[in-house]
Symmetry: C2
């Protein structure tokens, strides 16, 4: 099938193919134009956004031409020819064309444009469009960037469990995982569902965060990170919510909140820089067709800026004094809404800002209590155009205080004995944060619906494909 | 907390620290020996297997010494000193020692050795042992190797859905995912569970394979790979089964079975080589303490060997003629058992061998039918010491034949309309394979229980941590 000997379009167009003759290309037809003396086929093989132009100098000798449609898969043999004064430097003169797979005319991806809404319905075909080809290649490259950043800094990639009996965030929006036959549930003597008879012998669900397990591994390996799927059974039909998404959660031993913030800033800037330098084609596409501002310029500005820092308490003061009407009233103790976050980063600081030391009541049980007894060492990183993009904290490493906070939150200590053990045996200050992978991809690209940045989105009522 | 300014033990011991004075080290105590005129502390910070030796020349001036136990976390400031004629080239003379976190004497990881069985019970502490520190760092490095191999070859990393309504392998061992309150199941008029009222509006479960979705993306991007969690609700308590594990599934457009086998061979050799070259410390450890043979030598042999190829039909002949009694009788049509696989690769071929073209009846519906009408283009790669390590196939790209096979298997065609569309619109020959990540790590390391190669294993009755 010439899998190894064919040339990829990306390599051809970027001048990496030296011998210009006897070239085989394998790909899908994007357009075909046939006239009496010449014919052109644009072919795409998924390696790059660009198509390779195939030129047929003697169309009458290629009977196959009439059977070729948009979407057909082809094997083309020929030679490369330099062309001057055009955007592309190379085209291919066809010597042999073979149809690998037909494409009937009811193929939905003809040349006309489709709405993103419609393309979601045909998520199995949309990766063949320009936009979703770019999105998928971008996602792949940026995934690699995540690994590169951490691996080059000595972090260990860890796989935390997907099926778990914990609820890290205590939010309760957990999908149940079970091996029960629902038509035949085993019951206890009291008539309640007998979870001891389920596969794991207890109630289990899909993880909402790998953090607690990451703390275990950071307490042994020092620096670790997760990069895996995470779940929320949240009945939200918004452009920012899906039930299944990928999260990155670094956890660092011997690291306090200030140092954590530095890692957050370094990491975000690394991702921005990687996008600009290693995803040039994708960024040019987003800039031209997707984003409603100049993303390239914006990212360049962010890379040059020093992220600001402000305490939650000071941020509340700023918001109270702001000459802007907010939908949600501002007073100390509230959880910041997106409108507040955006005011802070866009209007007041005019750059990314880390808000720290939130009220204990609105944050998770594991965050380190400050000496004031009412705030915790949390940080949210806010960026212009979106608001919160990263949430993190220094963790409570003091056994007695952690137990106290868990008791106040009515948590079952028994179930977290292993988590508490980390504070019993050689406890260390440690910190970490979480970054939603789709969220950062949306931010960099300007794609504004999360359903368009993940190949097969899971939302209420939708588990197709 | 000196997170950025401290030196990691790995860098110190590998000579990457230039200025030998005013060094800060953060880590956990492995052992302490105190005598009148000198004291020694071995400290480990998780960056490497090796400990750094801390030397205290004037123990009487360090009151803190008496409170330091195995497991305590410390901050040590001092200077580095070269030592000659010893395995390690550097030790640290302490100027200041601070206990960061105490460790009471009921800490279970004292110097004595624990069985792997016992350590599984304390999976939250075992990463602190030599063996599990090595295992976790090895897993991280090998994960990166997986990405490197594919990214350097132009493959796109894809995230296929975890929650799905499909059952790729048709094996039925699927965990159910639901948002139902089991004490209060909604029923239809007929008294059956009303799945239309569940979160996704239909029955859903945890994926057993990302292959079908990978085929979608390969049909647009060319070369793709998954690397993510996969699930089996299989009630097996063996050393090779867990309910949740990580799989690598590459899928290549325009690729036939022979080419697929070449990718499999290249990939396995790349991983073996990466382990030998980039995980020297880990491989030396496995070789000395874990494997019951010389893994380093074995891997070197595998890298040099050309993997053999044999058809299933010929393999059956070989087994029938073998001068060995098998527990399971051999005849054409059987699924090969591990004893058969190991005979072929260890005794007959004496090297890795790819067995191809299995009977259609014992393989999945999507494999490409051969012209004989009774075998399919499947391949299993067998390696000495284990048997099957990779399973793959060329996929059936012909619409009519695929429909016929799905009908024969009584599958609901409606649910797979999107999968069939790939064969309708510009179909291409394509192939792929699956490699269990834990399986290959076990093979390379010699670790012989899968529960010891994954940080928090999920098995029947066990979802702790």
């Amino acid at each position: 099938m010439n899998y190894f000997t064919r040339k990829k379009v990306k390599d051809i167009l970027s001048g990496q193919v030296e011998d210009m003759s006897n070239i085989t290309v394998l790909g899908w037809v994007r357009t075909k134009r046939v006239s009496k003396n010449i014919a052109f086929i644009e072919i795409n093989d998924g390696s790059t956004l660009e198509n390779l132009q195939i030129v047929i100098l003697n169309p009458e000798e290629f009977e196959v031409l009439s059977d070729i449609n948009t979407g057909s898969s082809l094997k083309v043999v020929g030679y490369l020819d330099e062309i001057k004064g055009r955007e592309q430097s190379v085209e291919m003169k066809a010597e042999k064309i073979e149809i690998v797979g037909d494409c009937p005319s009811d193929y939905e991806l003809q040349k006309k444009r489709h709405s993103f809404e419609y393309l979601r319905e045909i998520a199995h075909l949309r990766p063949r469009t320009n936009t979703f080809g770019v999105v998928n290649r971008f996602r792949s490259k940026m995934s690699y960037a995540v690994h590169k950043f951490f691996q080059e800094r000595g972090f260990n990639y860890i796989h935390t469990p997907i099926i778990t009996a914990n609820d890290t965030e205590g939010a309760g929006e957990i999908f149940r995982v079970s091996n029960f036959d629902l038509e035949n549930l085993p019951l206890t003597d009291k008539g309640e569902v007998d979870y001891s008879q389920d596969f794991f012998g207890e109630e289990t669900g899909l993880t909402v965060s790998g953090q607690l397990e990451a703390e275990v591994l950071a307490s042994a390996l020092g620096d670790v990170y997760t990069f895996g799927p995470t779940f929320r059974a949240e009945n939200s039909n918004t452009a920012r919510h899906v039930a299944e998404f990928w999260m990155i959660e670094p956890e660092m031993a011997f690291c306090n909140l200030e140092e954590n913030m530095q890692v957050i800033e370094d990491f975000l800037k690394y991702l921005f820089k990687y996008a600009l330098e290693e995803c040039k084609e994708e960024m040019a596409f987003f800039n031209k067709w997707i984003a409603d501002d100049n993303r390239v310029e914006k990212l360049e500005e962010l890379i040059e800026s020093d992220f600001d820092r402000v305490s939650y308490t000071d941020a509340i003061e700023i918001l109270i004094e702001a000459e802007q009407d907010f939908e949600y009233d501002v007073e100390w103790g509230i959880d910041l809404q997106t409108e507040h976050e955006r005011y802070l980063t866009e209007k007041h600081f005019k750059k990314p800002v880390m808000v720290t030391d939130y009220p204990r009541e609105i944050k998770a049980f594991y965050m380190r209590l400050n000496d004031d007894g009412k705030t915790v060492r949390a940080v949210d990183c806010l960026v212009p155009g979106i608001g919160e993009i990263v949430g993190g904290s220094q963790r409570e490493e003091r056994y007695d205080l952690l137990v106290k906070m868990m008791e106040e939150d009515n948590m079952e200590l028994d179930q977290y004995d292993w988590f508490l053990d980390l504070r019993k045996y050689g406890t260390v200050p440690h910190s970490g944060f979480g970054l939603g992978f789709e969220r950062i991809l949306m931010y960099i690209s300007g794609i504004n619906n999360i359903r368009d940045i993940i190949a097969f989105p899971r939302t209420p009522g939708n588990a197709k494909f």
